[in-house]
Amino acid sequence: MRNARFLLLFAALIALLTACVAPAPAGAPAAPAAQPAPAEAQPQPTGGQVVIAPGQTIRIGGSFALTGPIPDPGKDIRQAAEIAIDDLNAAGGVEGFLFELVAEDGACSGDQGTVVGNKFAADPTIVAVTGGTCSGETFGLKPILQRARIPFVSPSATNPAITDPECDVCNRVALSDALQGEVDADFVYNQLGLRKVAVMHDNSDYGKGLAEIFQNAFIRLGGEVTNFEGVQVGDTDFRAVLAKIGANQPELIFFGGYSTEAALIAQQMKETAGLENAKFMSDDGAYTQQYLQAAGAAAEGTYMSFVAGDAQADKLAEFTEKYVAKFGVEPSQLGPFHGQSYDSVILIGEAIKRVAKVDDNGNLVIDREELIKAIRATKGLQGITGTLTCNEIGECGAGGVQIFIVENGQFKQIAGFGM
């Protein structure tokens, strides 16, 4: 009798299994959005069209790291995106249709990225996505948006693997870490003429990746890397690791990571034997007002690199003014990527303008496949980080790295590369 029940249960499980094996009927009636078709087994699905009725908005999704390990840059990126939406709307939107930002919290994590991606994919009114903030989060978005045929432009995900030839919806304005690391190493070796450096990173995807690229490039140039040490995001006491580095007396410390840690390292270096006269250099994650404030006097004479290319000073000033007026805070107080965020939204908006058509009923129609191509085809768009041109795999960043030195509590540009 009980054996029979066991068999029955087993049979039920098998039945359940087979139920999910059987392909879902095309356009399952209950589901508002078509179920994602299997990615590789069948030919690339097409996305169809987004039809926006008069009075409705053009909805652009945003995946921002509002909670999680680095909420500061996430908030900055979101607010910059809102400014961009305001600007697009102030310029009249598309044929009278206004833009709307649908902000979601990607929490800088892969599983939240997945959930956000699915939320956007399930919403037939989402036209395109800006984000995600972190690379892990963007990896969560990537496969889902690819299946759903929703293009995205990430302002700040720098992992080289985010874009690839297989993925036609994947774009970013941020530069892959590779360029920045190479330029920084070249600057330290050739311009500063230093031969012996120590490399630190914060063990984040971004920081460690950059630090590794810097290290490899520097060794290739012929320099010596005395230490390669990791710390953790959120650490505040770096004296022990600095003492260890100090014993080897490097001429410079390169740090891959974000501003708070960078500032503390710059500060605590000064107290460390062997590092009193060493220079300090960090990356675009640390190129913020926050760094200047937190490091105080210790910031003087330190170097920062920033992926900005031919930044358009007047556009940036205009943006900053609007930002302060709306949010009451300087964008650079929060994080480095506001420019990229603004540009990625503008990039999406301009592409939509190119492909959107008004049909006979007065609806705005956007063809998803055309939009994907239109974003890829962006050329010479004037953003605040520079002139944006997307290449064949979706690297749209204004290709340049600038190097700054801190003088009298201000960043001063001393070198620029690749513009």
């Binding site: 909420p71 390669f228 990791g230 022990a240 003492a243």
Partner: protein, 357 residues
């Protein structure tokens, strides 16, 4: 009284002799391996003696901060047998309060004044931080822990986790995400050199203060009437209540003591490392908890010893073993595991359990 019995009961099992020797042998082996590694790798790097001295000082300062927080953990644990997971965040609140007090005194211009005035201001800032922490700690006890007295052991733990998240993210919402930066007054800026070893003033202050506060705490618990009441409540709440001790008051007092120490730690850490952020209490809190367990939770000198040991291990360990610093937490936790394998109730934990048996 507790429904779920996680605590040790009166009867303890003996260890089989063979196992005991096996464990001891293993311990000796591990020690030998570590020593070998230190000699062949760590010392072979040829660091100067001043390097080891300055690492030791870094470790002691770090340990001093851990100790102040660990004492709070240990106090609350000793009395309520609960892990106050939000204790690190209580410290963070102290850091924030101290920051605002610092801004206030800077606005008054006290910090540019004569040394005595600066010193007075500093003491007042620390006091403000302690006040902020005490307020938070007592509120927490009243709102999140007191209704749970007598519930199974894990329930207050979950409540504490909730409280911890609530504190962190409330601070995030109210004060925003940017870190607050402490400006050190000139009096405690920098440090001095002793035989080629740099000692920051703030570090010295932290270490001395933590020793002093621990001593005070020990005296309060051992010598005063309230301390005696605390020990009585720790032994047995029911009996203590029968003896006319107001258990609620004693528990509140415990939270006041623990939170005050955490608040002092928060402010001093703020001066030492210059930033406070909404989540800057979490990692020190976790480490302090580890330290408290390492020393034998519920034991005041144990918390101190555990914290200093943990700090020194974190500072010296990676260099001595010749491995990258990102492994420092692995070293710290491995030491914890090893120590607990050989001494299952922490370094000084036995003292307590004997007293309670």
């Amino acid at each position: 009284m507790a429904v779920t019995t996680y605590s040790s009961t009166s009867v303890r099992f003996r260890q089989k002799t063979t196992t005991r020797w096996l464990v001891r042998g293993l311990g000796v082996l591990i020690l030998a391996l570590v020593a070998w590694r230190v000699v062949t790798v760590g010392l072979a790097e040829g660091y100067p003696a001043t390097f080891w001295m300055s690492q030791l000082i870094n470790g002691l300062v770090l340990g001093g901060v851990y100790a102040l927080v660990a004492l709070g953990y240990t106090l609350v644990y000793g009395i309520l047998l609960m892990i106050n997971f939000a204790h690190g965040d209580v410290m963070m609140i102290g850091g924030f309060t101290g920051f605002f007090a610092l801004q206030f005194f800077m606005a008054l211009g006290w910090l540019q004044g004569p040394a005595a005035l600066v010193a007075l201001a500093l003491i007042l800032i620390v006091a403000a931080g302690m006040f902020g922490s005490v307020l938070t700690g007592v509120t927490l006890e009243r709102v999140a822990y007191r209704p749970l007295r007598g519930a199974p052991r894990l329930v207050p733990l979950i409540s504490a986790i909730g409280a911890s998240l609530f504190l962190q993210y409330s601070v995030l919402l109210i004060f925003g995400v940017s870190p607050r930066v402490y400006q050190k007054p000139a009096l405690i800026e920098g440090g001095f050199r002793a035989g080629g070893v740099f000692v920051p003033y703030t570090g010295l202050i932290i270490f001395v203060t933590s020793l002093f506060l621990m001593l005070m705490l020990y005296l309060i618990v051992q010598r005063t009437k309230l301390g005696r009441a605390m020990r009585a409540v720790a032994e047995d709440k029911g009996t203590a209540a029968l003896m006319g001790i107001d258990v609620d008051r004693v528990i509140v007092f415990t939270f006041i003591l623990g939170s005050a120490l955490a608040g002092a730690a928060g402010v001093m850490l703020g001066f030492h490392n210059t930033v406070v952020k909404f989540n800057s209490g979490f990692i020190p809190g976790l480490k302090a908890f580890t330290a408290a367990v390492l020393g034998g939770i519920g034991n005041i000198p144990g918390a101190m010893v555990g914290a200093l040991l943990l700090g020194v291990i974190e500072a010296i360990g990676p260099s001595a073993l010749g491995i990258p610093t990102e492994y420092k937490d692995i070293i710290a936790f491995t030491v914890l595991v090893l120590i607990l394998i050989f001494r299952p109730s922490g370094l000084l934990g036995e003292v307590v359990s004997e007293k309670r048996a």
